[in-house]
């Protein structure tokens, strides 16, 4: 059982990693890190600030794009290409397929982030000529970014389990945007009453909440991150991804693969 999940995961990884689109996106992200160096040179004081802000934002945004575009294809593409039929004609459970796909994609994203992060650190070293203790905060920011990826991944997979690639991309992207403003949504819920309040609050807890994950600006100003926040965010990502994956498994279990 576990062996099959692992095999599916490594196969997903291999297939994703060889897709040229991936390399283009990584290259672009690295390019942005390079650009950050140039932009920073406009004003000496904020050089480092710009590199960190722009670099990490690039990692975050490109990662989200990768997560969405590879994620949506995970199930839809397999149905289109009928590879799914040959896989499911073997003693593979449907849920193993979903879980395996998730881990494969997660692995791909972690590796991507690693390479893109190298770009950021390289740019940083170029402008600062040394690393300071506070730069370790960047790793925390990257960790949070990876957690965001995992959440988006699980959502992509969820949508991919029942809708077409295009719609899945739209939904996943929409949820990413809404998730960035989820905190405002909850604030708005606090200002309403009655049924509206229940509905809006429900929605606010259902969408992914990314506000707590974005520490890019604060670590750019070398502000420390509370250890409790790291713990909370990790748990949140774990539970949210589990929720989305459970949904994906549930849907996929009952889907007629026409």
């Amino acid at each position: 059982m576990k062996a099959r999940v692992l095999h599916i995961a490594s196969n997903t990884f291999r297939e994703a990693v060889r897709d040229r689109v991936l390399y283009n996106l990584i290259a672009f992200a690295l390019l942005l890190s390079g650009a950050a160096v140039l932009v920073g040179q406009i004003s000496i004081d904020i050089e480092k600030l710009v590199v960190i802000n722009l670099g990490l934002t690039a990692v975050s945004l490109f990662g989200i794009v990768i997560a969405i575009f590879i994620g949506i294809g995970l199930v839809s593409k397999e149905i289109e290409k009928r590879t799914l039929y040959t896989v499911l004609s073997r003693p593979v459970r449907r849920w193993e397929f979903i879980v395996g796909k998730f881990f494969g994609l997660a692995g791909t994203l972690v590796v991507n982030t690693f390479f893109m992060a190298i770009g950021v650190f390289a740019a940083l070293f170029y402008v600062s000529h040394k690393f300071v203790r506070a730069d370790a905060l960047i790793l925390i920011a990257l960790y949070f970014i990876v957690l965001e990826f995992l959440i988006i991944c699980s959502l992509s997979l969820l949508f991919s389990s029942f809708s077409s690639p295009l719609l899945s991309a739209v939904f996943a992207f929409a949820l990413f945007v809404i998730g960035s403003f989820a905190e405002d949504l909850r604030g708005f819920a606090g200002m309403t009453h009655g049924i509206t309040r229940w509905l809006v609050s429900g929605a606010a807890y259902l969408v992914p909440n990314f506000s707590a994950f974005n520490v890019i600006s604060s670590i750019a100003h070398e502000q420390p991150v509370a250890a409790q926040l790291i713990w909370h965010n990790s748990l949140y990502a774990l539970f949210y991804a589990t929720m989305a994956l459970s949904g994906a498994v549930l849907i996929f279990e009952h889907r007629n693969l026409k």
């Binding site: 506000s211 707590a212 604060s218 949140y236 539970f239």
Partner: protein, 308 residues
């Protein structure tokens, strides 16, 4: 078929459980970082940059910042905060993104100018905001009204207030009382009636809950001040006549021929202390009153009728 059902049940349970868990964690995380969003929001420095970055969706972004401004103020006010440093930047960003969001200017007039804990204590910023609003909405009389309001209420600069009301009275479709207010400033600026007129105007012409609640509280306080002043004068007259203080409110009422036991806006009778002071029964209910309070009493700045 059993397999499918088993998997479905497990997946279903997992889904519900993790949804609940994620909601709980989210709640806890919120408590960890109460104002974090607002602070990091403003790391994005100038409003002009934000406007560029908003890719043309300024309206939506303005609404979001407006919501944040209201939350910021409301939340801190509830906690009796003594500083509201971020209120002006938030309102500034909001109005830069959407210069026609009139309610934001009104909010600034009501809450930027008054001293803490009822406001940010930054009347100059309030003036700045109103002038910006007038610049972008020259035909909206409300902005002139709010400008005059700030000059009158917080800066006590009746001349400038009159000027503002005068400017506003010339705007097409202006409210008839603008001319009236301009005239009042000249002679009766310090009167209760003028103040009452202003707060009533604010109340009637705004839809925002907080602004209205604030206006109501001020009106109530005005009533109390009027009543207490009147009653205190009666006590003085009584003292001049009889050479002593009245022993009770009812004695004062019958002696001075007052039309019945005086009651405050909550219909509680005013009380008369042995030292001859007229006080309200429940001082907490009148956060803006300056008279009729026990000595040394500091009001809790809560809007009386607010349900939070």
């Amino acid at each position: 078929m059993n397999q499918r059902r088993k998997v479905s049940i497990i997946a279903g349970v997992c889904l519900v459980f993790s949804l609940a868990a994620s909601a709980v964690i989210l709640h806890r995380t919120d408590e960890l970082r109460p104002q974090a969003t607002i602070e990091e929001v403003l790391f994005l420095s100038s409003p002009k940059v934000l406007k560029r970055a908003s890719l043309g969706y300024d309206g939506l972004l303005a609404d979001i910042y407006w919501t944040r401004a209201v939350q910021y103020f409301g939340g801190r006010h509830f906690q009796n905060a003594r500083s509201y440093n971020l209120l002006f930047p938030l309102l500034e960003i909001t109005t830069q993104l959407d210069p026609h969001l009139v309610v934001a200017y009104e909010f600034g007039a009501s809450f930027l100018a008054p001293p803490p804990p009822n406001g940010a204590g930054q009347p100059e910023h309030a003036i700045q905001l109103m002038e910006y609003g007038i610049q972008n909405n020259p035909d909206n009389w409300k902005l002139y009204y709010n400008l005059g309001f700030v000059y009158y209420m917080n800066l006590k600069n009746y001349q400038k207030a009159a000027d503002a009301f005068e400017r506003g009275s010339k705007v097409p479709d202006t409210h008839p009382f603008m001319r009236l207010l301009a005239a009042q400033m000249a002679q009766h600026a310090g009167d209760f009636d003028t103040a009452r007129m202003m707060w009533s105007a604010t109340y009637q012409n705004s839809q925002d809950t907080l602004i209205r609640a604030n206006a109501v509280e001020h009106l109530r306080a005005l009533r109390v001040e009027e009543d207490v002043t009147r009653l205190q004068q009666a006590v003085t007259r009584f003292g001049e006549r009889t050479g002593r203080l009245p022993t009770s409110m009812s004695e004062l009422v019958s002696a001075e021929g007052l039309p019945g036991v005086p009651v405050d806006p909550d219909r509680h009778p005013y009380k008369l202390t042995p030292e001859g002071r007229v006080e309200v029964r429940v001082p907490d209910d009148f956060p803006f009153a300056t008279k009729g309070l026990p000595p040394g009493f500091t009001p809790q700045p809560k809007f009386h009728s607010q349900d939070q």
